[in-house]
Symmetry: C2
Subunit: 199 residues, 2 copies
């Protein structure tokens, strides 16, 4: 019976992570659809905003931890939708870059704001302490999976990289995660402080 | 700055759920591959073991919360791999059932045991208290997403259903989540108590 009990608690936790993720994904799909994007296309735009455009497919793939092939297929559809274009390198014709169109660039900020607002709402029942507990417990599980998948991996190095990424996320958010552009802010056009959110 | 800080902590938590899930998925893919299955195919076998075979595609799809179309494609590949067969209903030829082959049935138990063992290992750094904290915090997020996706949903009803499912998981585990078959156990062939796991 003890074995069943252990297995059951394990499966329940597993299912909880799975279900939470699946629901999150459904949520994102809905939000980005309103901006004419799939969640995957949004991810590509984020990578391009983050790494700078023009950029190669392989760089986007590495950043999103996806295969070059799958990113290439997503980019194909984005070209059709007018969100990006492909452009050959002038000096080396074999190299192909992906370039954001103004349509793609213009979709990124409002889609980011809408998804941030949704996540903020979804996480609102958690106190700050609960958030950091959840972050840390998931982190423990995550690093244990990394260990499981790559025996002998340098976890310290993985954690260092993560901190680096966190700093980059902050930088990225200050560029795309605020309602007004930095220019508008400098010109005193920032209405955030006077306009209170009711939700 | 406060806004950036909030957005940052939100994004970090979001990424944590996403990364944990993605790594879990990679882990499962590796495990099930050793038993000649994809994770999706394993899911279909679980549904069939759980709901009983023969079963219709639509029932499997509903249970796994996937579209009938995607399950149909998975089943196509499973037929080719000899894991299941399709069979028409005798009285109503329009109805098609999916039936497990012995190959499919035989793959289910060892694949389940291997994945349980992996999850057990991955969750081992968490104490019982930490597990239930993680389960409950993820639950809070999950129900908030359900609320977000279906305003006015009856959360009590959703929670009741969940408890029902948990009871079913227990039942299922007692059938597929133990090393030996119930018959073997009754015949005194259960070697679990004498054979200690070293990992």
């Amino acid at each position: 019976m003890k074995r069943i009990f252990e297995a059951e608690s394990t499966v329940r936790l597993w299912r909880q992570v799975y279900q939470t993720y699946t629901l999150l994904k459904t949520c994102e799909d809905q939000i980005f659809e309103e901006y004419g994007l799939t969640t995957e296309q949004y991810g590509v735009l984020v990578a391009m905003g983050y790494l700078g455009s023009p950029i190669r497919i392989t760089d986007i793939a590495r950043w999103l931890e996806r295969s070059t092939n799958s990113i290439s297929m997503i980019v194909d559809r984005m070209v059709k939708a007018g969100l990006v274009t492909r452009k050959r390198d002038r000096s080396d014709r074999r190299v192909v870059y992906v370039v954001s169109t103004s349509k793609g660039k213009n979709a990124l900020r409002p889609a980011t704001l809408a998804s941030l607002e949704a996540i903020r709402k979804i996480l609102s029942p958690l106190s700050n302490e609960e958030r950091s507990t959840l972050l840390s417990l998931l982190g423990t599980v995550k690093y244990e999976i990394i260990r499981y998948l790559n025996p002998g991996v340098d976890i310290k190095e993985a954690k260092r990289k993560e901190l680096e990424q966190a700093a980059n996320v902050k930088q990225w958010l200050s560029e795309y995660g605020l309602p007004s552009t930095p220019q508008a802010k400098r010109q005193g056009g920032d209405k955030r402080k006077t306009k209170k959110k009711t939700e």
